[in-house]
Symmetry: C2
Subunit: 274 residues, 2 copies
């Protein structure tokens, strides 16, 4: 008969703490092979060691317990691998973002903060665009936007629609405040498409309203764009000209255009009162 391990032995074999093991039992993630009726002593089977290893590995990567449960309980290998690959993709995206933030902080520490960019107030005209709307989580905004802009540009090209300006996006206040809200990716075009037949479900032609905006150009990667928002927001408040409506970003120089992050240019347009 295969020997059963006490919780302490199992803890030593798997490098999971006793407290964590009891927690995994309680939430039904990893229950001992046997529990003594009288004493309540947990007994683990040797065969449970690999599952415990998997749990530890994924917890090291901050995978939530619910997701790990899905992985362990997946009906087939494909389902399981999809859950894992999704999580790894999220992890890697977060790694990239963290590295960018670290780099930008190192920059701040070395005193490379340049003079603030100037603020311009102008009156933007309304414009025809192809757009994709979506409710987007803050953390998933970059990949969502990349996808959407690529799709829009492909569609404009396929329809033979001439571009009339840089692609961009509108961000609702809800998106900034609750980190979960509507985002509209758009590509300005010279005319409406001939028929709606060629457009896929989520691409719609529309007209974006114009109006007065305060504009500041952000130079560099997105990781540091909050400084531009802060400077622009301060300017708007200071002059008492705050308006309403979504904030617009125009992507003047994108990662498609250059490999040098410091060459990136994003126009941030903050609606103001006329």
């Amino acid at each position: 008969m295969a020997p059963l391990l006490t919780i302490g032995e199992f803890s030593r074999a798997t490098h999971l703490s006793v407290k964590a093991l009891r927690h995994y039992d309680e939430v039904g993630l990893l229950s001992p092979a046997d529990v003594d009726r009288a004493s309540g002593y947990r007994r683990y089977a040797l065969g449970q060691v690999p599952a415990a290893q998997v749990i530890r590995r994924f917890r090291d990567l901050d995978m939530p317990i619910d997701l790990i449960r899905e992985v362990l309980g997946a009906p087939d290998r494909e389902t399981r691998d999809r859950v894992i690959v999704d999580h790894l993709a999220r992890m890697e995206a977060k790694l990239d973002q963290t590295q960018a933030t670290v780099a930008s902080l190192r920059g701040l520490l070395e005193g490379r903060s340049s003079a603030p960019a100037p603020v311009e107030v102008r009156n933007d005209p309304a414009s025809l665009v192809l757009c994709i709307r979506g409710r987007v989580l803050w953390d998933e905004a970059e990949p969502w936007l990349d996808d959407a802009l690529r799709e829009l540009q492909g569609m404009a090209e396929a329809e033979g629609l001439e571009s009339t300006g840089p692609v961009g996006a509108l961000y609702s206040e809800e998106f900034f405040e609750a980190h979960d809200g509507e985002v509209v990716a758009f590509a300005p075009v010279a005319r409406m498409p001939a028929g709606a037949a060629g457009l896929t479900g989520r691409v719609v032609p529309t007209s974006l309203p114009g109006g007065p905006v305060a504009v500041m150009v952000h130079r560099g990667p997105f990781a540091s764009i909050d400084t531009t928002y802060a400077a622009l927001g301060a300017h708007v408040v200071e002059h008492g000209i705050g308006g309403i409506g979504p904030i617009r970003e125009n992507y003047l120089v994108t990662a498609d255009d250059t490999d040098d992050p410091s060459a990136l240019r994003t126009e941030v347009c903050w609606p103001v009162r006329g």
Copy 2:
């Protein structure tokens, strides 16, 4: 007079949620410039925007609020920069570790799990070593060990002590279970140093006890060493030969010897009953 912002305006300017701002007020991290006596309304000054930016940046990097408070309240620039640089170093170490774990998981997914290494039981003799003891946190073990081993090797060389085997470390059970416990880094030497005068405070000569151990060689990076621990632990339990005492790792092939992570070799020695 500089205008004061409501919490909503300040939230929009800084991209910090209203709930987060109230929380920062409560814990004294960022208090509004003014609070209306009657209504309790919080009013923030424009000049508080940069501090809020700093807070958001560091929270994005998971810096705990207590540390951020230290940064904001540092008496001078050096103190402040030291706190920040320390945290960035921890972040970067964690990034490296996460990347290694991701890579090892990708490996597992691609089915590159090789046949398990064989377990050997042998009787190790006692040995003379130079060692450094320390109470070490799990997450800080790798840099601590790197430092300690480098110091030991430098010391052995300076004292003209011939090496008699690979460097290694002993890990207490407490270290594995509570993720915070004693670790002893050591370098085997042919003889004791002539006088203790040349040794710095934390390096001490000692004799490590020998005895029967079950041994398995781990091939590859440390990120996946838990699989070796699991296999070795299972073997020991299965044969009912579990002994007591610290687990010993001997670093046969280290990152100093090769640039290929898959060429790394670590001997894991698990004490057993004679």
